[in-house]
Amino acid sequence: MTAITAHKPKKATSPILSVRDLKVHFSVPGKGLFAPDRKLRAVDGVNFDLYPGETLGVVGESGCGKSTLGRAILQLIPPSSGQVAWLGKDIVGAPHREMQPLRRDLQIIFQDPLASLNPRMTIGEIIAEPLVTHKPELGKDEIKVRVKRMMARVGLLPQMINRYPHEFSGGQCQRIGIARAMILEPKLIVCDEPVSALDVSIQAQIVNLLQELQREFDLSLIFISHDLSIVRHICHRIMVLYLGNVMELADRDSIYAAPRHPYTKALISAVPIPDPEIERNKERIVLTGDLPSPLSPPSGCVFRTRCPFAQDKCATASPTLDRVSETQEVACHFHDSIS
């Protein structure tokens, strides 16, 4: 498989994160008392590079492995094999002692804003916790100053520092989660569906905040989402996952203007557009059936059971991710004939 290089002409720096052939397999008890364990291939060979200041969107349906990928990159779930190189150094299997200082630069924001905050801590304590852990040399007053500064930056009133999470709305809780992730001024934040649980009018606020912070701190983001409209807005490059495999990886404009993989085409055409004329007259590719069980993925190309263009070859050989243009890579045997 070829290594993937980002289309990022304005900066010819080296990537801050390089992921090579990353696999995460879980062991699931077999059916029956003495049946052998079965292997669930949640992430099955993912490659990409991420550059400073770049946002990579990871999209796919529930169960495609997008959250597992995000967590495996941060070593919150141990990868089964492959490499995750952070600033050129492989961190897979690194001992806790070596990982701990790196965690300052690697943060995460979760989907459910309230559930990811400890209900018994004040938001001041929640936002300060990373500082207390990673910068124990800081005095109490200095921590408080930094917490208040960060609260103001993410749009929370600093005088609310002694309140508890339940006193805040969903959008405000997500701001608290962002403040906690930002307080150490990290280089990379994995955003796992950060706006999915929020009301439409609040989603735009949070998306704008993330983009502002990105520009201000030259942050790299991995933006995991099932919402392709938001991904189009916020991401520079997009990776489409299906059953733990990359179907397509391309820069934003290429993938939305000319998706090459049948799955990407179907995903994009399935998103309802808030415009009656366009929505009623657009061409739609409706996939049949459901996502197959990741415990017994189809042979060959994992997408073939739902693919409207599947042929015999798809059942026997699994396609590799091929570069079809400078900015676009596709894993499909027939990407030339179907597009």
């Binding site: 349906e61 529930s62 709305s169 959008g171 405000q172 009301d199 439409v200 009018s201 609040i202 989603q203 735009a204 606020q205 998306v207 704008n208 983009q211 502002e212 099932h226 392709l228 409209s229 938001i230 189009r232 807005h233 934003r252 404009d253 939305y256 179907a266 995903l267 994009i268 055409s269 399935a270 998103v271 309802p272 557009i273 808030p274 415009d275 009656p276 004329e277 366009i278 929505e279 009623r280 739609r284 409706v286 996939l287 049949t288 459901d290 996502l291």
Partner: protein, 324 residues
Amino acid sequence: MTTNHILTVENLTARFQTPDGEVAAVNNVNFHLDPGETLGVVGESGSGKTQIFMSIMGLLAKNGTSSGSVRYKDSEILNLPARELNKIRGVSMSMIFQDPMTSLNPYLKISKQMTEVLVEHRGMSEAEALKRAIAMLDRVGIPGAAQRVHMYPHEFSGGMRQRVMIAMALLCDPEVLIADEPTTALDVTVQAQILDLLRDLQKDFNTATVMITHDLGVVAGLCDRVMVMYGGRVVETGSVRDIYYDSHHPYTEGLLKSMPRIDHANEESLFAIPGQPPNLQNLPTGCAYQERCGYVMDRCCAERPVLTVFDQGRASACFREDGQ
């Protein structure tokens, strides 16, 4: 008075008694539904969109009371005793919910859950009812319906469960189908399948449909008329084209502008409605949207704008409409 409206709602109000005081979840809502049309009810969480239909169906939580008038054809149905209401709900009016797993009984096979209503309401024999249940599952696109009817809900995927819910709702050929966020819990490709199914079924059965959703994309593709809710009140109504191409209420306008679009490349930041959705327990005097509105005037903070008809089938609750 006879109309051809299948459902007429007048001055519907729903209130809940909570330990922190009374919450007015739905206030003076008026609308009607004609045979075969699809009405979209749009709003954020807590806007009261679901509670309107829970009141109509007699499904309010124990601490809730509703008042006003709801007529199904010509008979009043609001607050009827359950025995009377059961002659209508599930038969002439059905409802499907967001989460199909929690609305199906996990202990009962699909066959039992589907035949019950036919045996009860239509006086069918078990065998006839089973045949009809299988035919309906087949119609909503469940492969191998004759075998799968004997399975339990947990043996179906999310999308298939929602199809089962739709099949159950359609068993007695209802004239009104109320769908409460029916695709919100589903993946986009499965959502597209379910929306296609709802469109097809509407063509076949001419069922009047209410689509309760927060997704303006879903409404754009499916609905004839739209009712926008904010803070427990209707703030704008109109045809789907009116609402999307000529919205009058600042909230509708803001909502449409704040949605990122998959069909547009946008390099600028998104338009965001500032502030938070209102707390129904603590609504400001005047317009509920005043704190987030870009056009706010002194009058908005003193007086509440009422929903005013300004054109055929169009109404908006905003003082800007008064032309000042």
